[in-house]
């Protein structure tokens, strides 16, 4: 699999501390993309799934999960699905970013795409749209993007947004 980079400790790519894999190659080419160097499919570096699993094992302490970002992760769905299953066996959860929408993904009957989708706990979908940029958003760049609870969505047959447990909702009296 072709990767543009690995960040072993991220605070901004999903809940908790996360091990993040940035895939190489993207077809969306969003304007004002954060990582345009990840667009060409022939740049970056080749890794085997086993190599990445070995790295992950060394870094899994204190991690809540693994995140696939990019690039467009679904262009390398088969390998990432294997990686996601390995991560789940290590009790790590899986967050996958994509420039496609959930609806676009399920329309496609590719078994690898389904495998990666259903190996993910959370899907953050949609292209980055600069005109909808909002720096106050959690884990996302623009307000069209959604944080989707994959399991609940599958069970419900329609998109269910992920619900974060909020312990600290208290506010000051006026």
């Amino acid at each position: 699999m072709r990767l543009s980079g690995i960040t072993p400790e991220s605070f901004v790519d999903g809940p908790g501390l996360r091990f993040v894999i940035f895939t190489q190659g993207c077809l969306h080419h969003c304007s004002h993309c954060h990582n345009p160097e990840s667009w060409p499919g022939d740049a970056g570096k080749e890794f085997s799934v086993r190599q990445v699993i070995r790295l992950l094992k060394r870094q899994k302490k204190s991690k809540q999960g693994i995140t696939f970002s990019g690039g467009e992760p679904f262009l390398q769905a088969a390998e990432l699905a294997q990686l996601a299953l390995a991560a789940r066996q290590m009790a790590l959860d899986v967050v996958t970013y994509t420039g496609f929408t959930y609806e676009q993904l399920i329309k496609n009957n590719d078994p690898d795409i389904k495998a990666l989708l259903y190996a993910s706990d959370i899907l953050i979908d949609g292209k980055y749209m600069h005109e909808l940029r909002d720096i106050g958003l959690q884990f996302r760049g623009s307000s069209n993007q959604r944080i989707i609870d994959v399991m609940a969505t599958k069970n419900n047959g329609q998109v269910v947004l992920y619900h974060f447990e909020q312990f600290a909702k208290k506010n000051a009296p006026k």
Binding site: K63, A168, K170, N171
Partner: protein
């Protein structure tokens, strides 16, 4: 006839022959029975020579002194001449000291120096600084043994708060519960115990302020939630009575459940107002020596009663809201105590307050977190170990009960570790030997100072001792010495620049090599062992401190660079790295930093803190914040905090990372940039130069 003479500073002054006679008389007096008549005769000879040598009014004080010496020798008074010369030298040394002092004064008058980030630039601040310089000079030149003074001046060690050397002690965990329960007198009359939460909070601020004027260091409350909870209960009763009597006046009756809910709501409102007032007070009373707000700290988070929880929650919410325009409160220093079965796990009663404290920290950098279950804090089962100010920890006691309240540090002195390493020239046995010598030197220096401090009297501390705040001061009268009480305090040896020390010894610091880390642990544990031995030997509470390096960050490095040259990784920056920290400019993951620094906490029993630097506040990811805190607990840390830039637009209140010069929301250019400086918060414009350089080099543990 001569009418004027040229003084040393070039000014012209009226000439009086009698002054020459006085000086000669003093010279004669020093060797034998003095004779005024003889002095006058010698003066005539001096005048004759002056007239022969100089034209009218063209000679200086120096010229006259030279002639006096010649005349004394010519008259067979060689001994007197010698004593005259000594008298002259002595006078000129005093003059030099005075002119050094005057230079310092004129510098201060230009701009108050930035040694301490809490000092402003007001007239009072300048007077404070001038008196500090004068005191420092006095202690160094007149009071300290020469060896101790010299090692401070040349930068082998740093004697902290030298300007307060013989006047007071460092800091205190104030027994707030007792002072409020019994009332107190801060010099102008007796203050009764409060009956509601607002008065209690106002008095708490006054207590911090009153004691700050008796001490130079941090003032802290160890059990703020528990101690204030009593007055929340009283407030509840007060509100209940008030509402019932109002209803009665209106001839109304109310549903009991609704009434109770209303009482609770009113009590909470009052508590919130009280906490807000407390925070406002601590950020506005410039009462520390007239120029600084008190170095105040509070510890809380473990009281699980309804009232105690209300104190913690209301304080956090008021702290989050900030000052009038949303500015970050710089004080008090807030420490949230984490404890198993109380607030550490989701099923614990105060877990929600832990979550809230992290949310507040995302916006305000405080609270810091203390770990009650670390291996070295857990052993004090009946006590909670509170931290003060930047990191001070006081608990063990070789002279009495190991308690938190009513105790503090007496004085501390820091060792320049990198210098010992540079001098050893990679010879480890040479390093260990010089480290032992330096530790022994510090022990003796702390004892010298203790011997000065213990002679102070109860009446020298009207509040601290007069109101019996310090342990075992109950039985003392105003004229008694404070020794019986202060033997419960700590004497601490600190260190700075472990990282640079390791580079000088091995070529790598503890972030770069496991070997350096192993050496670092043996150095720090060795220093602790020497402290423990001193406890046994002298029956005083010696302890090892991971020094807060604010005043030191430039003071050791500059002379070392001048003396030993620029050594890469050692003297090539403007500062030495804080205590045992991994250098701020070194790129390392947060988890690795935590794992590396954790093991040092247990050795530094006088205080320790570790930081993790993030590129921005993890406000949308409290899970990640919590993961960091949990990793810190697992690494056996005692006290830790998470750092990130907090910029606030003073015009519209926008809070976040503002990388441009003006506010992206309202365009205002009045941006307050809050950063942490050795444990306390400050705004960037109050940092001293070497700290400013350090902040610019801080390496965040994650790149965007």
């Amino acid at each position: 006839m001569f009418t004027s003479i040229i003084k040393r500073d070039g000014r012209t002054q009226d000439f009086h022959e009698s002054k020459i006679t006085d000086a000669i008389f003093k010279g004669l007096q020093a060797v034998s029975e003095a004779d005024r008549q003889q002095a006058m005769e010698l003066t005539l000879e001096v005048m004759k020579k002056i007239r022969a040598k100089y034209k009218e009014d063209s000679f200086s004080v120096e010229n006259v002194q030279d002639i006096v010496e010649t005349v004394l020798i010519e008259n067979g008074l060689a001994k007197s001449a010698k004593s005259y010369i000594l008298y002259r030298e002595n006078r000129s040394r005093l003059r030099e000291a005075r002119s050094e002092l005057m230079d310092a004064v004129s510098e201060i008058l230009l701009e108050t120096n930035r040694e301490n980030a809490n000092i402003g630039n007001s007239p009072s601040a300048k007077v404070l600084q001038i008196s500090e310089v004068a005191s420092k000079n006095y202690y160094l030149k007149r009071m300290l043994p020469e060896k101790e003074a010299n090692s401070h001046i040349n930068g082998d060690i740093y004697i902290h708060d030298l300007s307060w050397y013989g006047k007071t002690l460092t800091c205190l965990q104030i027994p707030l519960d007792r002072l409020l329960r019994e009332g107190f007198n801060n010099g102008h009359g007796y203050i009764r115990p409060p009956k509601g939460i607002k008065t209690a909070a106002a008095l708490a601020a006054i207590i911090l302020q009153s004691n700050q004027n008796d001490m130079h260091g941090g003032q802290s409350f160890a059990y703020f939630d528990r101690d204030m909870a009593v007055y929340v209960e009283l407030e509840k009763k007060r509100q209940d009575k008030l509402i019932r009597s109002n209803l009665e006046l209106l001839g109304l009756s109310a549903d009991e459940t609704k009434l109770e809910a209303l009482v609770l709501e009113r009590t909470k409102e009052e508590t919130y107002q009280a906490m807000e007032g407390f925070i406002y007070n601590l950020n506005t009373m410039h009462s520390r020596a007239g120029a600084q707000v008190p170095f105040s700290s509070i510890n809380f988070g473990t009281d699980t009663s309804e009232a105690g929880r209300m104190v913690t929650e209301c304080f956090l919410l008021a702290y989050e809201k900030g000052l009038g325009k949303g500015e970050a409160p710089l004080f008090p220093n807030v420490c949230f105590k984490l404890k198993e079965d109380v607030n550490f796990e989701p099923e614990d009663p105060n877990y929600d307050l832990f979550q809230l404290s992290m949310r507040v920290a995302c916006k305000r950098l405080f609270p810091n977190f203390s770990f009650q279950d670390s291996s070295f804090n857990k052993q004090f089962r009946d006590e909670e170990v509170a931290y003060m100010g930047c990191r001070t920890r006081v608990i063990s006691n070789c002279n009495g009960p190991a308690v938190t309240n009513s105790r503090g540090n007496l004085s501390f002195t820091t060792i320049n570790l990198p210098r010992l390493a540079i001098r050893a020239e990679k010879d480890l046995s040479c390093f260990w030997k010089s480290l032992d010598e330096m530790l022994e030197h510090c022990v003796q220096q702390l004892i010298t100072r203790y011997n000065v401090q213990k002679k102070l009297k109860v009446k020298d501390f009207p509040f601290l001792m007069g109101q019996k705040l310090f342990l075992d001061s109950e039985g003392l009268s105003p004229n008694d010495s404070i020794e019986k009480s202060i033997r419960h305090g700590t004497l601490s040896i600190g260190f700075i620049g472990l990282a640079e020390c390791l580079v000088a010894l091995t070529g790598k610091h503890h972030g770069e090599s496991a070997e350096a880390q192993a050496l670092g642990i043996s150095i720090v544990s060795h220093m602790r062992r020497r402290c423990d031995e001193a406890v046994q030997k002298y029956s005083l509470n010696f302890s090892l401190l991971a020094t807060p390096a604010e005043q030191l960050s430039g003071k050791f490095t500059k002379p070392d660079a001048e003396q030993y040259g620029v050594i890469p990784g050692v003297t090539d920056k403007e500062w030495y790295t804080n205590s045992f920290h991994v250098p701020v400019e070194y790129q390392i993951s947060a988890m690795d930093k935590i794992a590396l620094e954790g093991p040092y906490h247990k050795y530094c029993n006088a205080g320790h803190i570790s930081y993790v630097e993030l590129p921005s506040a993890p406000e949308h990811n409290l899970e990640a914040f919590e993961a960091l805190i949990r990793a810190m607990a697992e690494a056996d840390m005692g006290y830790a905090a998470v750092n990130f830039p907090v910029d606030i637009c003073c015009d519209c209140g926008l809070n976040g990372v503002i990388s441009e010069d003006s506010c992206p929301k309202c365009g205002g250019s009045n941006i307050s940039r809050v950063r942490r400086i050795t444990g306390y918060l400050s705004t960037l414009d109050r940092f001293n130069d070497s700290k400013l350089a350090e902040v610019q080099y801080r390496q965040v543990h994650q790149k965007f």
